[in-house]
Subunit: 315 residues, 2 copies
């Protein structure tokens, strides 16, 4: 028996046939379309599910359930995409639409929640009961596992740690507030911080690195810092400081076993976790007498979405 | 049958005999002592429990359980005061010590957690499943009820929303970090903000109000603002803004049914809740499509501690 995990993204909808022990044994992908009244996203998800089964040489009789990870606000109880910003969607009853085609349990949840669950079931969070997962990508997303279960807030509308203000009246955030963690700890924020530092220091190696890459990216400061550039190192240190402040906030609220970092920036591994663990050990509330919170890199990388969606069936 | 709720504070240890419907039918209080190896706080709690029973004319046979609300870090599973700052305590196995005297269930928890639970069981949180309780007092404390149950974090060491940084590198906090919510939204913070504004504006009515009261207090700005003082109104608005930023952070993470405000400042009632509800409705994440978070004043006031401690037996 298998699960099917579907990872919906702005560019593509990826499906995976997942074995019980968390191996992806077949894959199928379609590009993300523009959806409207006449063509629902459920139609593309159906294609992905069928394509995935065909690739794996199985039928729906071999599938125990279908899980879908979706960016944006999802009502996981009613199986509805409440709202998605990047793919223009509003109130789409995906689960009901798919049930017409597949007579198996179908679940949908927010993509960051799925990734959190995937990490706890199959990845770096295995064996931990209380896991905070934070993704440092285009935005800052997160998911919370409390006592082995996904915590979503009332009507699945919580778990938005990226929209926790860490600098009152600070940088503008897409959500309409000012000073959100996302406006300081996302890749977009790091690029902004990098550009500002480059402007001030024309001699920084970051200019050379950006020219090589053809643009300023989330890696520019990290790469130049590795080459010994002082200004770049300052950018990296300041950025990690912002990341750390948010992580400690979450530690003080949730006090989990472990905080897992995913997303593009997490590829920097120890360059992130070493200073962040130090901050955590020194500055989290009652660090001397309270249980330690570990800071680790998430392990599922690009497969977190598919595996996490499949893990919805196990929750 | 009754419960006994014990509310441990820096000045006194208050006991209450609590009926099943949340009425305090008898009370007994002793002053808080200095405790050491030879004299444990359990000894004073024992006196409070016995005094409370005597006042109520009952014996331990009439008591279903004893609940204790304790400031600081409490291991509620093992029944140990892990650490308390205001009353110098470290690793006191209160529950085991009291079990020698009382053969009934005995539970202990952090005082803000107790107040949260008390409000949800007996107070303004009645009927809600997901409640965030925030106390705006000397410090900023909090408690979280998720799906009707107290959420304490791993080993009961979470639920410290006062130590969420809202201004990176901001005002110094007692916890060692800079910019914690407590350093902006506590009574002590408001007094600091009031004093700073008074210094800048010698004509403000706040000077008159402070002279009347003999000191600058958490009420000085609110009272002067009510009399039409512009500088005082600015202090109040700024303060409420800081409170609101923290509340919205918690709404975005927990998306509860309701956020309840307790502590000294909560006596300002609508002057707090009206602007805070407006902020919440405008600025919480996805306010247009996500379920609304209500902001209300907690109702149990000074009895929250006793009633919340008693409610531990019901959790």
């Amino acid at each position: 028996m298998y699960y099917i995990g579907v990872d919906v993204g702005g560019m593509s909808i990826k499906g995976g046939l997942v074995s019980k022990d968390g191996k992806i044994v077949a894959r199928y992908t379609v590009p993300t379309n523009v959806y409207n009244k006449d063509y629902s996203i459920s139609e593309d998800i159906r294609k992905v599910v069928e394509g995935t089964m065909a690739e794996g040489g199985v039928t729906i009789a071999d599938v125990e359930g279908i899980g879908i990870g979706q960016p944006g606000a999802v009502d996981s109880v009613r199986g509805v995409i409440r709202y998605s910003n990047n793919i223009a969607l509003e109130n789409v009853p995906v689960v009901d639409e798919l049930k017409k085609f597949f007579d198996v349990p179908i679940k949908i949840n927010n993509d960051a929640n799925c990734a959190a669950l995937g990490e706890q079931v199959f990845g770096a969070g295995k064996g931990y009961n209380d896991v905070v997962f934070v993704t440092l990508g285009t935005g800052v997303g997160g998911g919370f596992i409390i006592d082995g279960k996904l915590f979503e807030g009332r009507e699945c509308a919580g778990a938005e740690p990226g929209h926790m203000v860490i600098v009152v009246n600070g940088e503008k955030c897409n959500c309409g507030r000012k000073g959100c963690w996302e406006a300081y700890a996302s890749v977009s924020a790091l690029i902004r911080q990098t550009k500002a530092a480059m402007e001030k220091d024309p001699s920084s190696l970051m200019h050379e690195e950006a020219a090589k890459e053809g643009k300023v990216s989330g890696m520019t400061s990290f790469v130049a810092a590795k080459r010994g550039d002082k200004t770049a190192q300052e950018v990296v240190d300041t950025y990690i400081g912002y990341v750390g402040e948010g992580l400690i906030n979450l530690a003080n609220i949730f006090r989990p076993d472990v905080i897992l970092l995913g997303g593009a920036i997490s590829k920097e591994k120890e360059r992130l976790t070493v200073p962040l663990q130090k901050m955590m050990d020194e500055k989290s509330f009652g660090a001397k007498f309270n249980p330690r919170v570990e800071v680790k890199i998430a392990s599922l990388q690009n497969d977190a979405g598919i595996l996490g969606a499949a893990a919805l069936l196990l929750d």
